[in-house]
């Protein structure tokens, strides 16, 4: 817990320092430092850093022009997301449809967001300009060397090389990751759906309405809270079994393959790795037909009399075994199929780690008379766990969002007979993520997709934070050694 508080403290501390530096610089700086607040280049040109000053001035003029000529047409409409609806009239001479000067809600949202990011960056540059101008002033006053432009360039290839390296990737991340995520968050507060799809229609802000309709008054559908509870339960059960079954399966498999008694271990390993080489959706679609009601597995089971046996025990009342078409049966089958898909990955990881197992400890244990199980229990497993615990946590989160396996195995195959679930477009085998997909993607319900996306993100984030902080505290290594 102390780690979290210190991390949060550190974050706010650095923001505080950022402004404290600025306050100090602005208060104590000379006229050029103060002028830097409105003319970025002033402080640098005053200290003979002409080129740097010009570059910053040009950049500032560019941002000002951007703010005057580009930004207003979008940002001014940000509050309403547009008011003029799309209309067209038929031109009787060219037979073309002529649109009016309409507002495009989505473009308004997107470009406004872009403007905000640009202005935030401009704000940070302004502050940094003042701080740096003050630093330069201090250097000049104390008679130290003031960098020329060439010196600066050399710095950026030498002591500040990391800055040079990271500039482009960071710009890329802001443009293609940060802005889309912000956009998603904003969409959660609008009524963007099939009936409000630009450019034909406008959409607008609805505040917390979508969150309200998700969590109160029955929720998104007539039986929402029932379906949400059922699906969340299965999602967690699935994530638990999917993660730990493949984890231990992988370790046992690699121990088996590493054992000196195993003949041609390389062949077995190769066969297992082939499962990885075949694209998952191909193998899953094949397996799905193997396990279909009239599939090859059912034919085999009927031939050897297994179907009749299960029927005699009253476990099934159909002429086939409903591997993927009845609740419980489907749940177990999905977890088993996932073991088949997931074990090879874990086996590869475990093999790598087992090879690095300190042999002195194994030997001393053997001399002390420990049997194989004791060696596994007290040496192999603790070592494995210490190394692989972080992947265990990420695997768990990954399985919460394991869309592929569930969707490919059950879509168009599993039909729920639970009307309450069906009324929420759900079925027993759905995870939160596949349910989200059914609820929104098929119906262009972008606003609720954004809301549920945020909720799933929060669930995963909270879980990951807790798991990392409480399950894998940093002193494990010390305990083991």
């Amino acid at each position: 817990m102390s780690k979290i508080t210190s991390a949060i403290g550190g974050f706010f501390g650095s923001i505080g320092r950022f402004f404290a530096d600025f306050g100090k610089a602005f208060a104590k700086g000379d006229i050029f430092v103060k002028l830097s607040l409105i003319w970025w280049g002033a402080g640098f040109i005053a200290r003979k850093q002409i080129v740097k000053g010009i570059i910053l001035t040009v950049l500032e003029v560019g941002i000002i022009l951007f703010s005057i000529f580009f930004a207003p047409q979008y940002v001014s409409k940000f509050g309403t997301l547009g008011t003029v609806k799309f209309e067209q009239v038929l031109d009787q001479t060219t037979w073309q449809l002529v649109p009016n000067d309409y507002d495009h809600s989505f473009l308004i949202l997107l470009f406004s967001l872009f403007c905000f990011v640009v202005w935030l960056v401009a704000f940070i540059i302004t502050i940094r300009c003042v701080v740096n101008a003050y630093k330069l002033q201090l250097r000049a006053q104390s008679g130290k060397h003031v960098n020329t432009f060439l010196d600066d360039c050399k710095d950026y290839l030498d002591s500040k090389f990391h800055v040079t390296l990271l500039t482009l990737p960071i710009i890329g991340i802001v443009l293609f990751t940060v802005i889309p995520i912000l956009l998603l968050i904003f969409v959660a507060f609008t009524n963007y759906d099939q009936w409000h799809m630009p450019p034909g229609e406008l959409f607008t802000w609805v505040g917390f309405q979508n969150f309200k309709s998700l969590f109160t008054s029955g929720g998104l559908t007539v039986s929402f809270s029932y379906a949400f509870g059922r699906i969340l339960g299965w999602t967690l059960v699935w994530a638990f079994f999917a993660t730990f079954s493949t984890y231990f399966g992988g370790i046992l498999m690699s121990l088996l393959l590493n054992s000196k008694k195993t003949v041609v271990p390389k062949l077995w390993r190769l066969l297992l790795v082939i499962t990885i080489a075949v694209p998952q959706f191909v193998s899953l679609l094949l397996v799905r037909y193997f396990f279909a009601d009239n599939g090859i597995v059912n034919t085999l089971c009927a031939r050897v009399g297994l179907t009749a046996l299960l029927r005699g025990w009253g476990l099934i009342n159909t002429t086939y075994i409903p591997f993927l078409t009845a609740p419980i049966w489907a749940h177990v089958t999905i977890i088993l199929i996932n073991i088949w898909i997931g074990v090879p990955y874990q086996m590869l990881i475990a093999t790598g780690i087992l090879m690095n197992l300190p042999s002195d400890q194994l030997e001393s244990a053997r001399i002390d008379g420990a049997n194989k199980f004791q060696v596994f229990r007290y040496i192999t497993m603790p070592y494995m766990f210490q190394v692989t615990a972080p992947t265990l946590v990420t695997d768990f989160v990954k399985n919460i969002n394991n869309f592929n396996v569930i969707f490919l195995l059950t879509d168009g195959m599993y039909f729920t007979t639970n009307q309450m679930l069906a009324n929420s477009q759900a079925k027993e085998t759905d995870l939160l993520i596949t349910w989200l997909f059914n609820l929104t993607q098929n119906y262009y319900n972008y606003k609720m997709a954004a809301v549920i996306g945020i909720v799933v993100f929060i669930i995963c984030a909270v879980f990951t934070l807790i798991a990392f902080n409480f399950l894998i505290s940093g002193d494990k290594e010390g305990v083991y050694n």
Binding site: T94, L165, F176, T221, T417
Partner: protein, 456 residues
């Protein structure tokens, strides 16, 4: 040196990001997912998670002055490409004083909606789609009202919207209209279902009633297949008894199945009739009809024109098709209805050349084009004159389909309709509802609560 390598790597990474995030408008449209006309477009909402984003060139942004080439893009199914190319050439020939630059792209009728709604402004000027997608397109204003284009249609194609309405069958025009406004040109009929059977095992009398059909199949140890876990198929029993569904302004569905129909039949009795059919040992409920047909045990199936290949394989080249049988409801025989389905051609409201787009859409769906479509693609015409052609009537599937269309219902439903009805069908197939009136009534009430639920 190391630094150079690091810098180069960073550049590559950044450029990669730019390339990925940037516009992926590649040159032509032929990279779209192949169409699959083998399914009744989407009786379930489409499961296609990644609609091919925008690999089609947007329409020309600069409307040319009159006399310049008119640039248009047409989307049609993969199997229709050759025919469309031919029709486009004929269209050009029919307007010799105007130059055109018309591109034909691949977009399956069953997934057109998904691609168009991703970005309507980048979609084709003229596109073919299955009739059940009309509501989504109208909701999103991604399809042009043809009533508003009447003047252009008369000036450029020489026919009025009223002419189009009279030239095509009434049910197809009804399905292509919303609130009395025509939104699309009917192109093909036959997206409905009927009974196909193997005449080696069944005779014409036996296929007239479900009772006779199931009895004959059971006596021979064979089965009759139908997809009952689907609101597209199982609604037919309710429609047969006079029940209705409707689509409200706000996108919700209205349905009266848990009450009494206009013809005085109770919903509970319809469910009992369905249970009687589904509980027969000869009845086989499946969502994979082609596999069932070719599997060997099935000798009759409720299916549509798209199944020609599987039917030949399963039932032999001499397979027969006819209207759906009657079923026993309250001791009386009631004709089973079907849900009518069509393929339409629509016009993009954001087309830069909307007038010519409408003229082209009309041309590829007129009587001559529909006759051609039947000859080359074996697709049933909606055009009344084309349908009267003796060659059309001789085609087993199309004849059965158009005979069944007399008992066809245009299914108007909203998004919340599909999942509850699918589950209800599954419950009937697996016999989980129970047979007493109270249990059936409460199951029906639950079903209707789901169907009519408000949309968030």
């Amino acid at each position: 040196m190391k630094k150079l390598v690091a810098l180069a790597l960073c550049l590559v990474l950044a450029l990669g990001l730019v390339a990925c995030g940037g516009d992926s408008n590649s040159n032509n449209s032929n990279t779209n997912t192949p169409s699959d006309n083998n399914t009744p477009s989407d009786n379930n909402p489409p499961a296609d998670n990644n609609p091919p984003a925008d690999n089609n060139p947007p329409a020309d942004n600069n409307p040319p002055a009159s006399g310049d080439a008119i640039a248009l893009t047409v989307w049609g199914g993969e199997e229709d490409q050759a025919l469309l190319g031919e029709l486009v050439e004929e269209f050009k020939a029919a307007h010799p004083d105007q130059t055109f630059n018309i591109q034909v792209g691949v977009e399956s009728e069953s997934t057109a909606k998904d691609t168009i709604l991703t970005d309507p402004q980048a979609a084709a000027d003229v596109f073919a789609f299955a009739s059940d997608q009309l509501d989504s397109l109208v909701n999103a204003k991604a399809i042009q009202s043809l009533d508003d284009m009447d003047a252009a249609l008369q000036a450029l194609a020489g026919v009025s919207v009223a002419d189009v309405k009279t030239a095509n069958s009434a049910s197809s025009v009804e399905a292509a209209s919303r609130n009395g406004v025509l939104y699309a040109f009917p192109m093909t009929a036959g997206n409905n279902y009927f009974l196909a059977y193997d005449p080696d095992f069944l005779n014409e009398d036996q296929v007239k009633t479900w009772d006779g059909l199931l009895e004959a199949a059971a006596a021979q140890g064979k089965k009759v297949a139908m997809t009952i876990a689907s609101g597209w198929y199982n609604a037919s029993f309710f429609y047969s008894a006079g029940f209705t569904t409707g689509l409200n302004e706000d996108g919700t569905t209205s349905a009266d199945w848990n009450g009494t129909s206009a013809t005085g039949i109770k919903g509970v009795d319809v469910v009992k009739a369905m249970q009687a059919i589904a509980s027969s040992p000869a009845f086989f409920s499946t969502n994979d009809l082609p596999a069932a047909i070719t599997g060997g045990d099935v000798i009759a199936v409720v299916d549509g024109c798209w199944e020609d290949k599987a039917l030949k394989e399963g039932f032999g080249d001499d397979y027969a098709a006819t209207t759906l049988p009657t079923f026993t409801l309250n001791g009386q025989q009631v004709q089973q209805y079907c849900v009518s389905g069509f393929k339409f051609v629509g016009v993009n409201p954001y087309s830069k050349q909307a007038g010519w787009a409408v003229a082209l859409a009309q041309f590829i769906t007129n009587e001559e084009s529909q006759v051609k479509r039947f000859e080359q693609r074996k697709q049933g015409p909606t055009n009344v004159n084309a349908a009267a052609n003796p060659a059309v009537q001789e085609n087993v599937l199309i004849a059965a389909s158009s005979a069944q269309d007399a008992y066809g219902v245009v299914q108007l439903v909203g998004d919340n309709y599909w999942s509850p009805t699918e589950s209800f069908g599954a419950q009937i197939a697996q016999g989980t509802i129970g047979s007493d009136d109270a249990a059936i009534q409460s199951a029906l009430d639950d079903l209707i609560a789901g169907i009519t639920a408000p949309l968030a």
